[in-house]
Structures are given as C-alpha cells and as structure tokens.
Symmetry: C2
Subunit: 346 residues, 2 copies
C-alpha cells in the first residue's frame, strides 16, 4: 500500500502540461480519495484548478514546491510523464524541496527516484520514502489459474485500442456501483490507477511470464475485501506491441463479464496508424473466444468515448450504434452516466 | 552472440538427470553446431552418451569437471534446470573448476551466475565470462509493428500447450530446409534454443511491454542473413499463465505461416490439469483470427509429437487425423520426417 489513504494530502507536479497533457494529475484530482492541496505548474501559476477542470475539488496552482509547503502536504506526486518516462531535470528543485520538508515523493516514471543518488541520500537524511509505482514487487510468480476461485464477481474492461477510456470507465463504474450500495472494488493495473487507488501492480512492467500471475494475485487479494471487482484493462488484444499484456489480463483475471471500450471515430491503432481498427463487433468474438478455454466470459456492456462528437444527440446515436454492434447495453460513462450499464454487470 | 560458434567445444553439466530430465543437454547434443566433449553426470559416470541417446555424436560421461579438463573444452554449459531455476550448490565445485581452468560458464538459470560473489571474483581473476542467457538485453523497447517489413518469409511454431515439441519442430524444419539448399535461419526465443543457436532473447523473461519488441528485433536481425526464418514458439494462446508470451510472439513476429504442434493423447494443459485442451481444430481459428488484424497468417502445417504411441502405424494414423483436424499437411518431425511438411511452408 502507498501512503495514500483518504487522510493523505498531496501536491501534484504537472509543470507546463496541466490539464490536457497531465493525465495522471487530472485522474488523481477526479478519482482519488485523498486531498490534493495544490498543483505545481509554472506555466499557470496563479490560476486555480477550477479555471481549467471545472468538475473536481478546487486547489491553487503554484510555481514551485516551496510555494506549496504552506498547505502542509504529506507527499509530492509526479503527475506527468515525458515521452520515454524520463525524469525532467527542471523538476529537481521541487523534489528536493519536498524531501527537505519531510514529504514522501511518489512517481510512476521509468526513471526510478530511489536510484537517484542525490534523492536517495536526501530521503534517508530526512526520513521520507521515495516510491516508484512502476517498479513491480520482486516476489511475483506464474499464475496458478485460480482467479475464478475468488469470492467476488469480476468485471474486466477491454478495448479496441489503447487510450479508449478503460481506466476512466472502470473508475466510473466503481463509483456508480458504490452509489448504489454495492461493495465494489477497483483493481488498478497501470501507474495512474495505482496512484489513484494507493495500491496495485503495473502489469506492463512485469516480466512477461509473471504478468498473468500478477493479475491473479491482485484479484485474489481484492476479492477478500469486496463483492464485485472492476479490473482496469490495458491495451487491446490486437495491439502490435502491447497485446501480450492484454492477453495476460484476460487469462489472469478470468473475468465473469467484460466491458468493451472504444473511441468514437477512431479508425487506426493509436501511434500505429498502419494498423486499421477492425469493426468493433469483431472484438466481441476475439475476446470471448480467447477467454473461453481458460474461463468463459461474455461482453455484457459497452463504453464509448464520445469526446470527438460535439452534439449530445450525435453522441447518443453513436452510443446506440456501438451498443448494437457489441450486442450489449452501452453508454459514455463520462458524458452520460456509467449507471446505465451497471445492471448488466452485476 | 555467445561464444558458441561451430569451432567451440563445451562440457555439459547434467548431474543425475541425463538424459530424460536434461532437456537442454539433449537439445544441445542433438542440434548444436559446436562440439560436446563430455557430459557431467555423477550418477552415470563411466557410461557414454551413446549408451543413452543413440542418434547423436558420442561423448564420455564423467563425474566432475576436473575429469573433463583433459578434453580441452572452451566452456562449461549448465544443461539442466531444477524446478524454480535455482543454482544447485552441489554444482559449485564443477563451476569453480571450470573457471579456474579458463573456461567460460554458460547458464540459463533464474539464479544469475554473474551475481554470485565467488564466481564473479574468480571469473575476473581468470579472465573468463559468466553468461546468463536468461538475462534479456537492457536496451529493449516496444515493438514498432515492423516485422512484416523483414526481407524474409517467417514461419512461427505455435502449440496447443506447453511442451508439445515447438523447439524440436522448429529445429527439425531448419535442418530439413538447409538439406534442400534453402537459406533457413532459426530464431530462438527460450533458453535451450538460445544455447543451441548461440544467440537469441528469452522472450518469457522480458518486461511484458517489450516482449513483442524483442521478437521484432530478432526477426529484423535474422532476416538480414536468411531467406526463410523459423521462429521458436512458446506456450499456447490459451495458457492460464503464459498466454501473454504466446500472444507477443504472434503479433511481434507477424509470421506468414504457422505450424501447429500438439502432443498425441494430451487432454489437459500440462501442470494445469483443471484446464482441458479444446479440440485441436479450434486452435486454427484462435491463432489466425487473433493474428489477422495485425498481420494475416495461415496454419500451413501440423507437427504431432507421437511419443505416447508405441506402434508406427498407430502414430501414422494419429498424424493423418491431426492433419485433417488442422486442414494442413502434418507429420511427426522426429519419428517420421520434417521434410514432409516443408513444401507447405515455403
């Protein structure tokens, strides 16, 4: 568990990228239980969060960590990731200031903060933790094929591509279920989800042989605390680079039901434009046929990201067409309401 | 490249497990280009290889490395793996003797020899290399989806389960193709294949996000030297634990054609007996439907391991039934002849 329970208070670093290119920062503001006391963005210092993201709790945007210490945070959370996942040296004074003020520092970079000599020495001196959520536990093993023994129903979010709203859909479903009094748990599998939830394993960073085993472990653990688990999916089963992670999630989680996510208007794999996205209905068979010999499942609902469509009625028509294609109730869980598909998932 | 070209000479450690539980040792004896000067097996010392494995080059079996030094080897190769991949401390005197005699030591264990303090110090002192083939290169990246640009035809071996003869089938096909004068290359993806070929990446040990990228890199490299590549497959696409590796191989290699392998009589996933093996014909659709959106492929041949069948005519009937099921020419490449299916793969 990370030091991020509901009593925690954090500052989120998002220099020059808030909000549109700060997916982690915005995800934390929207979904985390803990308190975001300030955002660091030197390009927008003086604004507040509400100036840019209207529907989350407001917080000041400040230039540097030194300016955020008056809000008495427990931790600094790195809320952006440069391409390649490196550490931007311009952040060093903020990380240094956080450590010197007794704050833990939590990051999801490829570059591990606890391997940085200056930060490691300073953290030891000040008695704080440097937490790299992208580092998997070192005691993972192969799956034993036991996820279906879990004492909880399991719903896995899958997609037609990367970046189709799998994490958002999963978190909106958890919130909608809890609102109805269902004991729902979120199973995070990527760095942003882990930072939001305060626990989890970054499945894409696990040794390939242990990927399904990492998912299985999370399912079995979370099933002890909840009746219904919503598992954050990754990638797509036809991704030229990441399909192995998706496949490990499908067979490791052994979901009872699937939610298929798609982005309206998307025609090719994101970043791999030579690869066309096939008709969405074909994914239903791909996912369920592949799951069947290990643990049969069904596509029980669809979630469509309609951001590309301006008008609500156009979005509603797109959602209906998507539901027809995947032969299940569908919604846009952000634009409309996740609870529209909740009945199909219980 | 490992120091294992055709001029190399090695001693293979297989204590108490030769030949039936020494898959790597027997694979090296059967398929490697380099010279096996002796086998270490204290339970069979005094025998020769020909007493146990009749159809490979003979070599003495000796009790300890000290007894093998007279054959002037370049390297000691660890040819067995205990469950869990640990280092058996009873091998320590042999490894020590090898290093002190100026031999490199090559292993495929989870336990890395070059992290063993005694071996590392001794190797430095004696100027020899400790080579852990299970450690992937540290500069791997995500796949770019380019394997189909390779200037070679690519054949991938897939399976209905683990241990269905994927490596053996692949190596027999390479040998049969070369016998016909085809410029065929072997692409090794597991530790035994890597030790046999002297190069390769252990795909199951790679970070999940980079698994397809590792395969792509090998395809692009090997295509520069050969016209027809035979890629060693791993696992099965419906394996509860390892399917992610299989999926990464399928999408990373972008094979033009597949060979499906199966073990006659196998009814459940090896080691996961609760999971039945579905009808073999269902695998044809699973593999080709999953490949199609990334790089279309076809099942062009079948290879059946008939070891469980005593009589040749019974084995021949099983091969024919298997070929009918996968709708492609089939053989048992060990019992009969790999060249029977070669025409279908060119």
């Amino acid at each position: 568990m990370l030091p991020l329970d509901s009593d925690a208070s954090v500052v989120v670093l998002a220099h020059e990228q808030f909000p549109d290119r700060a997916k982690t920062a915005v995800g934390v503001l929207r979904y985390a239980d803990y308190d975001v006391r300030a955002v660091l963005d030197r390009a927008r210092a003086g604004d507040t969060v509400a100036d840019h993201v209207p529907d989350v709790a407001d917080a000041p945007i400040v230039e540097r960590m030194a300016d955020a210490l008056e809000f008495d945070p427990d931790a600094l959370l790195i809320g952006i990731a440069p391409i390649g996942g490196g550490f931007d040296e311009s952040w060093r004074p903020d990380v240094r200031a956080a450590i010197e003020a007794g704050c833990d520092v939590i990051a999801g970079l490829h570059y591990f903060l606890d391997e940085d000599e200056e930060f490691a020495a300073l953290a030891a001196e000040n008695g704080v933790d440097l937490i790299d959520v992208r580092r998997p536990p070192d005691d993972l093993t192969v799956s034993e094929g036991r996820a279906r023994d879990a004492d909880a129903d399991v719903v896995l979010t899958v997609g037609t591509d990367c970046s189709t709203g799998k994490m958002t859909t999963t978190l909106e479903l958890v919130a909608a279920a809890r609102e109805r009094g269902i004991d729902a748990g979120f199973v995070p599998t990527g760095q942003t989800g882990i930072m939001i939830a305060g626990w989890g394993i970054p499945v894409d960073r696990v040794i390939a042989d242990f990927a399904a085993g990492a998912v299985e472990r999370m399912i079995l653990d979370a099933a002890e605390d909840h009746d219904l688990l919503f598992v954050e999916g990754q990638g797509t089963i036809i991704h030229p680079a990441y399909s192995g992670v998706t496949c490990s999630l499908l067979h490791g989680a052994m979901p009872d039901r699937l939610v298929v996510t798609h982005s309206a208007g998307r025609e090719a794999i994101h970043g791999y434009e030579a690869f066309a996205i096939p008709p969405v209905e074909s994914y239903v068979d791909l996912y369920t046929d592949l799951a069947a010999p290990v643990a049969p499942t069904e596509v029980a609902a669809g979630a469509l990201d309609t951001r590309a469509l301006d008008a609500d009625d156009e979005a509603r028509r797109a959602v209906e067409a998507f539901g027809d294609a995947v032969e299940a109730p569908a919604t846009d869980p952000v634009r409309f309401d996740a609870s529209e598909i909740l009945d199909a998932l219980r």
